[in-house]
Amino acid sequence: MSIISGKDLKKYYLAGETKVEALKGLNFTLDPGDFAAFVGPSGSGKTTLLSLIGCLDKPTGGVLEVCGTDVGKLDRKAGARFRGEHIGFVFQDFNLIPVLTVYENIEYPLMIVNPLPENERRKRIMALLEEVGMTDQQHKYPDQLSGGQKQRVAVARALVTRPKLVLADEPTANLDHKTAYMILELMKKMRAETGTTFIFSTHDQKIIGEAERIFTLEDGELTGTSRTGDNNNA
């Protein structure tokens, strides 16, 4: 039933001759619709874990199943297809495509990755623009937007293909506290409407409270998991 399950998940990097053990055998599961956070100090392995779940990198050992697929076995093409179909990404630095407008950035996955007919695309994009409150900015280019606005566009882009899972590595690290909070609220709202599973990583204690499930990472090991009710908002 779980959407993600990791069994003895390991990731080693080779930095020259030395082996860096970024993940030292993690065991965990996430359920559909979870709003979860990976927390931990810098270097604890948050980005590494999200890259593995996002099928951007392969585990060194153990098994990682995402949406019922053993992602360690996907090749480059299958990996790209899998990401396009099941996963949305929100990045710390927003990573919008600078030559495309807000509208076109959200349209990109439906154009290049999972093609949809024009009128269908338009409907979806307009609805999402409305949801993230960017309808009146849709013709602007990314460099004309504030950080918070960019991240809202990024959230819309991540959701436009209706993925089962949205991964966000430190989505608020480049935003001020108020904006960060708004972005998390937005993600939560979208989760409520679409049932999409959201996973984000952060080391910002203040926003950790927004998560409903918290996985604490320390030095490549899972040192704690906790579940909170959705009742500790500010």
């Binding site: 996963i87 990404f89 495509i97 030559v99 290049i112």
Partner: protein, 412 residues
């Protein structure tokens, strides 16, 4: 697909200065090649038509073995009456042949009773000859170009040396093929201008006069010159005629005739070849410019946009699509260069025409360089540049499509 090109175009705008630079570079290369080709082609065509239309003709037929001993103007290498008739039948049957002219070439002496010197003569039928070498009448500097019986057209330099004028009486002396010498009195009918190349210093008399002088009975012919309807189809015509002529065999099975294009007959052909070589060299330089330029720009682009590539790869863009995106960008740069280059080339080529640049060839001056826009050359050069632009972006685009998303996303 359209979207990919739209993104490619916008990405070229993004690095406007760099794109402008490479587009200008390609454009300059294209202009250089197009103008160079137009100019050399104009020069070449003009010179070739001068040579072929002044005396040579486009093709020539002789008895097998004539050409190797052409310097001695041999008389024992002539075509018999029947052989000539066979040759004429073949030429008449070929629709690509516009006209032909039968000639007797001979060497002899010319005397004005005070001086005697060597002369080479071409004996012709003016009607046929003027059709086959249409510029010949214009080479007659003085006197009447309508060659009549007992008249000789004397080459310019010889006339100068012997102080001959139109209307003067001269004696031509020639040895016939049995070795007996015969002379005949002629009137100078005109002075003929020197033309560069073989046969450019020949005097002209009528065929009938030559036969009398050489005591030829039955008549013989040493050379048949051919003028084609379309010089552009020289090779096709040559192949067709060569095939037909090779079928004519002597009793012991050897070919009767030999046939040559003007290229085998005139030293200018090697100059024309050299011009073609230079054109090839210039084309290779263009290819190198485009290749290095585009590769350089695309390598920079991929390097600078590594994170962006990581992003689009992460959100599910297939490697092949990424490859196509960058190749499209290279193609757009190439296309912009080609369009700009071709437009400016057309302007420059017509500009050159307006300038009335002149050059001289042989004794003649005042040939005007009239380069023209050759659609075939333009298309070929454009196609080459576009192909090279795509090829040049292949390696950087390939690299982009193979980037590991995690690593690409981390780069700054």
């Amino acid at each position: 697909m359209l979207k990919i090109f739209k993104m490619a175009v916008r990405n070229t705008h993004r690095y406007a200065r760099r794109s402008l630079l490479i587009v200008s570079l390609i454009a300059v290369g294209v202009i250089f090649v197009q103008v160079y080709m137009a100019a050399t082609n104009s020069y070449k065509t003009l010179i070739i038509s001068q040579i072929t239309d002044s005396m040579l003709g486009h093709l020539q037929m002789h008895k097998k073995g004539y050409l190797v001993s052409v310097e001695n103007v041999p008389l024992n290498m002539n075509l018999t009456t029947e052989q000539t008739a066979r040759a004429e039948a073949i030429l008449k049957a070929n629709p690509m042949v516009e006209s032909y002219s039968t000639r007797i070439k001979l060497g002899g002496m010319i005397s004005n009773f005070a001086e005697t010197t060597n002369i080479r003569l071409a004996a012709i039928d003016p009607k046929k000859e003027f059709k086959t070498a249409p510029l010949l009448p214009s080479r007659v500097l003085e006197g009447n170009n309508n060659l009549k019986a007992d008249e000789v057209l004397v080459p310019e330099l010889l006339a100068k040396g012997m102080k001959l004028k139109t209307g003067d009486t001269v004696v031509l002396v020639a040895t016939n093929k049995d070795g007996s010498v015969n002379g005949k009195q002629f009137t100078v009918g005109g002075i003929i201008e020197t033309a560069p190349g073989p046969g450019g210093r020949d005097g002209y008399i009528l065929l009938a006069d030559a036969m009398e002088l050489l005591r030829m009975d039955p008549p013989e012919i040493s050379e048949i010159a051919v003028h084609l309807k379309d010089f552009g189809k020289l090779d096709t015509a040559f192949n067709a005629l060569a095939k037909a002529f090779m079928q004519e065999k002597t009793k012991d099975g050897k070919p009767v005739f030999e046939i040559h294009t003007w290229e085998k007959l005139s030293p200018f052909a090697s100059i024309a070849k050299m011009i073609d070589m230079m054109t090839l060299l210039v084309k290779i330089m263009l290819v190198a410019i485009v290749l290095i330029g585009i590769m350089n720009v695309m390598i920079m682009s991929v390097y600078e946009r590594t994170r962006e590539i990581g992003t689009i790869a992460a959100i599910g863009t297939q490697p092949n699509t990424i490859l196509a995106m960058f190749m499209a960008e290279g193609l757009c740069l190439g296309l912009a260069g080609v369009i700009a280059g071709n437009i400016i080339s057309v302007v420059v080529i017509y500009g050159v025409r307006l300038l009335h640049i002149t050059f001289s060839f042989g004794m003649r001056e005042g040939f005007i360089l009239t380069p023209s826009v050759n659609p075939l050359d333009f298309s070929i050069i454009s196609a080459i540049v576009l192909a090279v632009a795509v090829f040049g972006s292949l390696q950087p685009a390939w690299k982009a499509s193979r980037l590991e998303p995690v690593k690409a996303l981390k780069s700054i």
